[in-house]
Subunit: 327 residues, 6 copies
């Protein structure tokens, strides 16, 4: 956590409430159990003296200022809160600086994606993608792409989309028989229903899966949205079928949630570029935390392999995630 | 085949054209390669003398009368056609008698299902199911439930639906916490998009998978139909979510095409009753062809197991499939 | 736990000893570490002042009265015992009220099952089933069906058997070619060797697996019992083979312990009804603990899926498990 | 086939009937379709002129003399029979010379195994093994160990048993903590129920699986036999449990038919030595048919690998299988 | 086959001998069984009148001229050879035109790859790659990349390498933290040991796997070559370890032959780009053979999926493989 | 731990430092967190009063004398150090007595293995094996065979090798067609690159995997060493190929790290004997810790099975691992 020690030895800092629950001690007194988060990470916290009569009630994703101490509990570091209040305008701090977020601002990423759509030559595809994209613009600007895995940061959804789009351009130059228009539409729409699947707020911090997210999932929810919007604006059935197929197949294999295997070359390309971009992100993030010459811990999602930091990444390397100015 | 030998030693019979292709012999003469089918089974056929100038052009699923001989080719029995023509009204034969079909007539099965819907108490569910059911009545009457596996017969789709519905009644009496209304809706709608997935005709003979069938599949196509109709008639989002979840999860596990695992008790019940009814059908059909005390061949779809006919089936046993009166 | 706080602030209650071990503190004093259980659940307990000289020695499954306090240890609630003694007749409490048990009394379930056997028409099967059933009556009345999973409650074995039997009746009415007599015999006998596999006592609380349970298992132990009894009373080899096959195949696939895949239609039906009943029980039990609109935790035994409580279970719903009158 | 060409250009030879079926040509005349076998291999055969009136009816496993020609049918060599009759005593040929069989005579193998039993020191185990072994002596002498895979030759069952026994001696010298008596008993009994599982005759040619073989299998059938005989002669329950566990677990993992994983050190040793001996046999048999420097075809049962004949096998190498004197 | 019919009705053409075997008819006369191949495909052929006394002996991969007829045998088209002789200089035909080959000439592809190496900035890597590349230049020019799957054409090995290299450039522009030098080295060397693994000739037609290919494989053979050459020219151990790791891990997962999972970001990138390029090639090749709106057959190597030709590939599309001028 | 309580109630003992890290308490004071190990096992330890100014700095694998107390922390026993110093010569203790080690001394095992090599008759194989063996003699004497699984003790590598060699002799007597010379070479060399893969010291305690160990692994590292040494001393390519194949395939299947399936009979034998020896060791070690009649905990590496101690191991049984004289 980017907390700073004040002259009295206490720690001060701004952070987001990522989880909170009112509990009762075995002796019957109420307290708050929280998980606090800033751009540097997470920490469990306890506010023992909380009585709920402070006139300042807290909610999930609140942006707050805390003061307290680090303590060790059951072998793990926790934060014991002395004081906590919501952030005031006069604090003059921006929420973006306190959540892990994509390097590029959301608006900038949105603009680049929108420009790609404008440049498409197939009017039918262009119109469909644009209508859906614009209808979600306000949330896309900051939505995360996942709850825990790749691109689970503020703006992660657009970041993931944009990286894939950039790669797709050269990809279609190499594999000239791939239909660039269809591939672009697939990339832009493939994860867009994550705004239904994962709950979040303007903080861009991912919350829980929603009921539709769990029961239907962003693949089918996205295909349904394409179908609904497409029929509304008159997109041809053939185009709808191709795009819907890309949506429901983009996880590549049934075990990963694909309702169908990719059966068109653009569906195949989409699923492979999606996997590639996700793996590069996760790999990079994991290796970034190790010293050169060292291995990461065993990574569950990657067949328990341990990744190696060979210390030879390019010099001009820029960090993937903006962790604010406090680091 | 239910062909009969005429006094001159030739074989005569009525049948359906299940596949046909115009070909050229190595000597350059045209001929017709066909697959003929009646309620008893299939056979490859060749019409060597076909010249295409008979003024009587043939198409897939045509109901025809043939005359010819059985011959052996590459170790398999074939039929060599001397003469073939379309069935005339004066032949006085009914197509239903020449395709494998469910024991109960389609209309009768439809009526029983419709009555079940009428008896539902939840108006929202009742209306949604009724609208979808009625809109497909004409095709449901004869549509098969599969291309090759369980219930791949005329009327098989309704047969499968009806058996499950009958079982569901007592099932809900035993497991009283299961919501009967939701389960019924799921059973009636779960395979309804097979009318989009598999091509067929009034013969009820299953043809190939369609493009939407291959690329989207009846699970997601069905969920989309529920979504479209439901939003149109004002079904609540909550009910739609529960029904759509049942649709996309009813194959039970991803390996079998489920986009999600069943996560509600009715979705679980639906997927297990579906599997149960399909397995009973396949098992029964396979065992029915063996002698008591014998085993079937290894069944690929059933982990290569060989099923055993113990010869102790109940006396009052009725055959599952009506193979016409010719048998 | 259904303990009640007395005027002095201590907690009193009746419970069963589910595990106990004499230990020594790091300072060398002896104490008792126990797991206590009543119809509401389990709790770890410590009796620090135990000296073993109380003239009242304790054993596994003892029915006891305790007094003490709840404490938190390593993040988990424990019970610190001040006093513990065996239940006296004058306490006037029944053990059935202090263990999770099936809703129906064991004798009532046994009678319904016995009546089903009496109504069988095949004398050979009827006699075999009856002999085995009666020989285990005293233990069947209260035996649990599992150590941890489905029906792991007092009387769970008969409860599981009875639910399947009830379902089997309507099942055979729908699938008329299934031999009802054979299926009934399979249902009644399929888990009967769990009385050898799992240790328990009159409390109906499941203990550990026995050595024969681990090394041979209830599938083969049950088949051996059928073979032994059947040869003794002269059952025909053919019937024995069919029933033994059902026993050793009823887990459906090798991965779940089946020595053979089900190869007869009754063996298939048995394995599917068994799986169905177990899944319904587990699903129901898990969902029952969540609020409407909420998901359960990830369920390991169900492919990590999270089950959804849609809040639309039927009104007349009765709880599956009798948790005594204390709740 | 070890047939020889006679002066008139026809082929003569002795062989066993491995399969036979009466059929009707498309022209209505009866003929015999057979599979003939000698120590060199198998061949499909047709006897077109068979009328069934020769007063010499044929059965499966009959030892016959044939005369005829080789013909090509559908790309495969067949034998066209001109004449076939049963072997007469005056032919002076021994059936053993016309079936693939183990190198050592059955009696010699039986004697060595019996001697191993006599030398056991644990009387309980010795008695049980001896009683079962002796009761099957007449069939063990020639029974094959499999229908198609390893040791599927005359006497193959004893050959497999004996090789494992020989290996077990030195194995227990290296791993001194393994109980030699228990391991020996397990080796001798582990496949003995193959005499119930596979049908055969004195020819030692394996026929089909029997009904009990398919439905129960030699693992459980063998455990049942141990249980029955053991209880009859008073073997202790503990010994029976250990041996029965070895029987039902000796295929190592559920996927290969084990009802339980091996859980004792002798059960583990048994399953690994069994697998080792089977693999060595199959590997050797496959490589034996290739030239040095060549690979075998892809072997389905061995993960499609192709085995390599490096041409450096020991000089004193003896062929595993006696293919008679005709080769 | 690109054979042309001459005025007498016979077919003439140039082709390569892809397999040949001297055989004997059932009547004892010798004949040649061959597989002939040109840029259009393969065909089985028989030369019945071959007597081996023509003074013109044939070998695998010979470039020949044939004359004969098409015949049907066992349902498949064959070629019956009347006359066959080796190609003479005066025939004025080039072998490149008669084998399926990469669009770009081998020398041109080699030059582009060499230029990429020259532009590398890390001298150690540049030197190592250059030494290995140059030492195999003569064979690389035409070597195929596989026996049957992706890039199994003349020049396929360089084609596959070059496409990946082109993609790698933009890939490293998007994922700036990837070390371009290491990735390039990995791409160029990853399949280079296929020249040891698969036998071929100047025709570029892939023959069988070699013994080292089968027993060691191109992954480990390549790593060994890097090790040997690297130690010889003094490459640092650290670089060797990184490159060798890429070689042995580039099949991604153990099931596909990787001795280790990719554990560096470049090893991961290499394995994913390799898979991507292979899949694009196979997908494209399969779809190219179908009509728009049609599906391919089930593709074994792609989980039995059927690929869809949506008929919307880009106009400027160039065929992947040069099938000569004869098509 | 083999610590002994001194008259003042403190515990004294000699042990090895298996892990150590300097840490800071939440109050800012430095302390040492260690893992101590002797022949009896491991324990976490804390030295709270450590100031790093003792003039006696510690390193991994140091042999030290400690004094302190046992305490319970988070439910686990720890050791709280009062005093710790390196062992002095005057302590007169041998490191071998304080680490778990193979029963036989390293030199004795080495000699027996060397003698086996000397007795080989194939000069080429003999020379190659001898050169490699001798070059690593100093480390082989004490190297462990694994980090955590089988033979993870001092001298474990030679112990594993020697047991397999002993078994191989009788193995080749039973399977006479196996080439003993090749099998011996494979056994001796198969794990020799573990000296590169796992870090250790003269204590024989296994440390972490090295970078080459993780990235290349002992299978390929060993094959590379054979290739390098073999080419240096002129071993024929054919022999190298056979031995290298054994090295890279000895884990049997890809899932366990084999780069190729075993394809020669000696490679198959090697992989099966390797597996057999490892399983016997692990099984024995696990069962040795249980009481007769009891089961072990579920063993993760053995499909979660629980092993059974039947209490009938041979009397003359010797413990596998020498746990020093202190036990």
């Amino acid at each position: 956590m980017n907390f700073t020690q004040n002259p009295k030895g206490k720690y001060d800092g701004y952070c987001i409430i990522k989880a909170l629950e009112k509990k009762i001690t075995s002796k019957g007194s109420p307290y708050l159990a929280l998980r606090l988060s800033d751009s540097d990470g997470d920490i469990e916290a306890k506010w023992w003296d909380y009585h709920g009569d402070s006139g300042d009630e807290f909610e999930l994703f609140d942006f707050v200022k805390v003061r307290g101490d680090y303590v060790i509990f059951s072998n793990e570091k926790q934060f014991r809160i002395d004081m906590m209040r919501k952030v005031h305008p006069e604090d003059d701090v921006r929420i973006e600086d306190y959540v892990p977020s994509a390097v590029l601002p959301g608006e900038m990423m949105y603009d680049e994606i929108e420009k790609t759509v404008i440049d498409l030559r197939n009017d039918e595809i262009k119109k469909l993608v644009m209508v859906i994209l614009e209808s979600h613009k306000d949330r896309l600007i900051y939505w995360p792409a996942a709850k825990a895995l790749h691109h689970a940061v503020r703006g992660g959804l657009l970041m993931h989309t944009l990286t894939m789009l950039r790669l797709a351009r050269s990809f279609c130059a190499v594999y000239t028989y791939v239909n660039y228009e269809i591939l672009c539409a697939g990339i832009i729409l493939h994860d867009i229903a994550k705004i239904y699947e994962i709950s979040s707020s303007e903080t861009g911090i991912p919350g829980d899966y929603t009921a539709p997210g769990n029961l239907i999932g962003h693949l089918v929810l996205g295909a349904m949205e394409i179908d609904r919007v497409g029929r509304d604006i008159g997109t041809s059935e053939d185009i709808l079928m191709l795009l819907e197929h890309m949506l429901i197949s983009h996880h590549g294999i049934p075990e990963y949630g694909a309702a169908k295997y990719p059966m068109t070359i653009e569906a195949l390309a989409l699923s492979m570029l999606d996997d590639l971009d996700a793996k590069m992100y996760e790999f990079r993030t994991a290796v970034f935390k190790t010293e050169p010459g060292e291995f990461t811990d065993k990574m569950k999602m990657l067949d328990n392999r341990q990744l190696y930091n060979h210390g030879r990444s390019n010099d001009g390397d820029v960090d993937l995630i903006n962790t604010g100015g406090n680091e």
